[in-house]
């Protein structure tokens, strides 16, 4: 019996069209726009200006507080200007335009591909290197990793969980990374274990990636304290609370952090970036992005420099197909629909998904027939039909009482609703309002 989370969950079609496609390096663009706010927390502050020359790996914006991180140039060339451009949220964000010239990297970076296993096991030094390298959660949440590695006072980490689940349909960047860079990932895990001062790490992988499970299960034996667990294929197994529940059996309490049950969760992509940062002095300036869709001529997994325009990725995959209805940054369940294909790739961009017209439009909204499917699929055990109603009627105290803030916005409720009701839309609105109320209460 495969381990899984007990409450809720759905089984959308997996559509892992690119699971067998090795990672290809996307050719350098001629210019990039690198946003200074690619992470949770305060945006970084630019430290370059128009006319400056920059090299690959150079700091171009500095972290502005503890919950913030550095931004590094992904290209070498000249800074065109510091300006604003709309990112995947649709809102203009500050960033740095760079005209690309050549591909010169800063000297500190070790560009060799040999595996390096030894490292200074001093926890503080490791965390400091991770912080300097601008590493954030690459599963999509983009939480600054160094913050996660410093437990709050009084709390201690017992186990490190590595998220190799990739439960979103279509996305395969983590899958390919596990197949192609397993040793680097495992060394990255040992580095994180030392940073957290834990003896135990578990890699969770969904059962639709048997090759990755087999490969990592074999290789993890060479490292002390690392195990691999195959998990039942069920969305949202990759949600950190659901992953912790499936692997350890513990439930993160409402309003709490994973560290409250002794767990710290990191994505495999983040783990790989940690390896490169600590062992090769390479900051985070590129990532694997899956470009995919049923009508895309050449769906691929591309290694892309941060700041590259999404249009170049789509071009490399064969161009925008006829009758494309939506272009999504991320996966189909939690990704953002783009108004334009000209948004930059950022540290959290896991995929570009093109959806045909017939699938893109939403169905007509019908009355709720109280079938309770939304209740049965919610992985947090909430009542989406009720939360939608109170959010719609703006009865925010009832929304708070019914734990609307526990919602992880996975979208399972909206997915399953036979009446096509916009459950998550209203719940997000309710969460925003209740969040405001909670913050004003603290003041």
């Amino acid at each position: 019996m495969l381990k899984t989370f007990k409450i809720g969950g759905i089984h959308p079609p997996e559509n892992k069209l690119t699971a067998g496609k090795p990672i290809e390096v996307l050719p350098l663009p001629t210019s990039v726009f690198i946003p200074v706010g690619q992470h949770i927390g305060a945006p970084a502050v630019p430290v370059v200006k128009k006319g400056d020359t920059v090299r690959v790996g150079q700091v171009i914006a500095k972290s502005s507080s503890f919950v913030s991180t550095n931004i590094h140039s992904s290209v070498s060339g000249t800074v065109k200007r510091v300006d604003f451009l709309a990112d995947s949220s649709g809102y203009p964000k500050q960033g740095i335009y760079i005209d690309v010239q050549g591909d010169e990297w800063i000297e500190e970076i070790d560009r060799s591909t040999e595996l390096v296993r030894e490292f200074n096991p001093d926890s503080e030094k490791i965390i400091s290197k991770i912080q300097e390298a601008g590493i954030v959660g690459m599963g999509g949440a983009t939480f600054p990793t160094h913050v996660k590695l410093v437990p709050p006072k009084g709390m201690k980490a017992e186990v490190l969980l590595i998220n190799g689940v990739e439960c979103e349909p279509y996305l395969t960047s983590d899958h390919r990374l596990m197949l192609e860079k397993p040793d680097e990932i495992l060394v990255g895990i040992t580095i994180l274990m030392k940073a957290l001062k834990v003896e135990k790490a578990v890699i969770g992988i969904e059962n639709n990636k048997p090759d990755a499970i087999e490969l990592l299960s074999k290789k993890c034996k060479e490292y002390k304290g690392i195990d691999v667990i195959a998990l039942k294929v069920k969305y949202p197994q990759g949600g950190e609370k659901q992953l912790i529940k499936a692997v350890t059996g513990r439930e993160v309490p409402s309003g709490g952090l994973p560290i409250a049950v002794g767990a710290v969760v990191n994505n495999v992509g983040t783990t790989f970036a940690v390896y490169e940062a600590v062992q090769k002095n390479k900051p985070l300036f590129e990532r694997v992005v899956t470009v995919t869709g049923k009508m895309v001529p050449n769906p691929s997994n591309l290694l892309v420099r941060i700041g590259t325009s999404t249009s170049l990725l789509v071009e490399a995959a064969g161009g925008i197909p006829e009758k494309t209805g939506k272009i999504i940054s991320g996966g189909p369940m939690m990704g953002k629909a783009l108004a334009s294909v000209n948004v930059p790739v950022t540290k959290g961009s896991s995929g570009v998904l093109l959806i045909p017209d017939e699938e893109a439009a939403r169905d007509q909204v019908n009355p709720c027939i109280r079938c309770s499917k939304c209740v049965s699929v919610c992985p947090m055990g909430l009542e989406p039909y009720f939360l939608m109603t109170v959010s719609e009627k703006q009865i925010f105290d009832r929304a708070e009482e019914h734990h609307i803030m526990d919602c992880i916005e996975c979208g399972s409720c909206s997915y399953i609703c036979p009446a096509s009701r916009p459950l998550l839309d209203y719940i997000r609105f309710g969460k925003g309002k209740v969040g405001q109320i909670l913050r004003s209460r603290k003041k």
Binding site: N366, P367, I369, S372
Partner: protein
Amino acid sequence: MSNLFTVSPSPHIHSEETTRKIMYRVVYAMIPALLWSVFVFGLDALWITLIAVAACLAFEYVIQKYLLKVSPSINDGSALITGILLAFNVPANLPWWIMIIGALIAVGVGKLSFGGIGSNVFNPALVGRVFMLISFPVHMTSWPVASDDGIDALTTATPLGIIKQGLTAGTPVSELTSELPSSVGMLLGNMSGSLGEVSALLLILGGLYMLYKKVITWHIPVSIIATVAAVAAIFWIIDPQSYVSPIYHVLTGGLMLGAIFMATDMVTSPMTTRGQLIFGAGIGIITISIRLFGAYPEGISFAILIMNAFTPLINNYVKPKRFGEN
């Protein structure tokens, strides 16, 4: 070429489920029982079913379009189900004009006056059925004789009717059983009763189909039947001459039809599995109480309607298991 892209919030994919598909699956589940009713009661059964369905659809269309001034939703399949269930709940030779009144009450009062599908508190078919029962008691309790070669002109009592009359008159059970159908007969449908309730086997078959297609879950039917069986068993064990065995209670009357098709109506039943078990137990207790101690031989229609009224309360107090609760 510049494309216009749809920009809407996540999720960007949707399951294949629609309200209409769910409703039509319920219709398919009722077909075996419907076919049996024609076999046993003749074309009268088909006729009254068609009248019920046509009347429900017509009333829904007219009321929505001309009185409420909204876009008619007769395509969603719910009025179709109400029509078939109404027919299932009446004697096969019910006069057509009574059925039309029943349909008007079911759709107009039971459903649309509350705000349409999803907003109704009570099961519309049961609202119509109880209205017909109380307004036209003789017509609604004159049961045609079920036989293999179609309907006879004679009328007869249902097994529950025989039981109620007999026990009230003081006849011991052992003398009554010769008048009652065999267990096999009750299971297959060789007995008299309303159009759709006679064949427990075919109703169960329909229920299994709905379970497989995830239209219903086991909680409501099982809790109703188990509660009825348990309470009936207790009384039967204490005094087998004054109370019939639970087998009769489970296989006769509207219990199967009610438990599988009427109590499971999504709109009027609780939203959590624990709530559904409470709901089913309540229906079971009220049903068996009316059967054993009430004036009516059958109690499931009233039981379901009463528990429908409790559903909002159950939803308020019975919450699903939350992640990270303890």
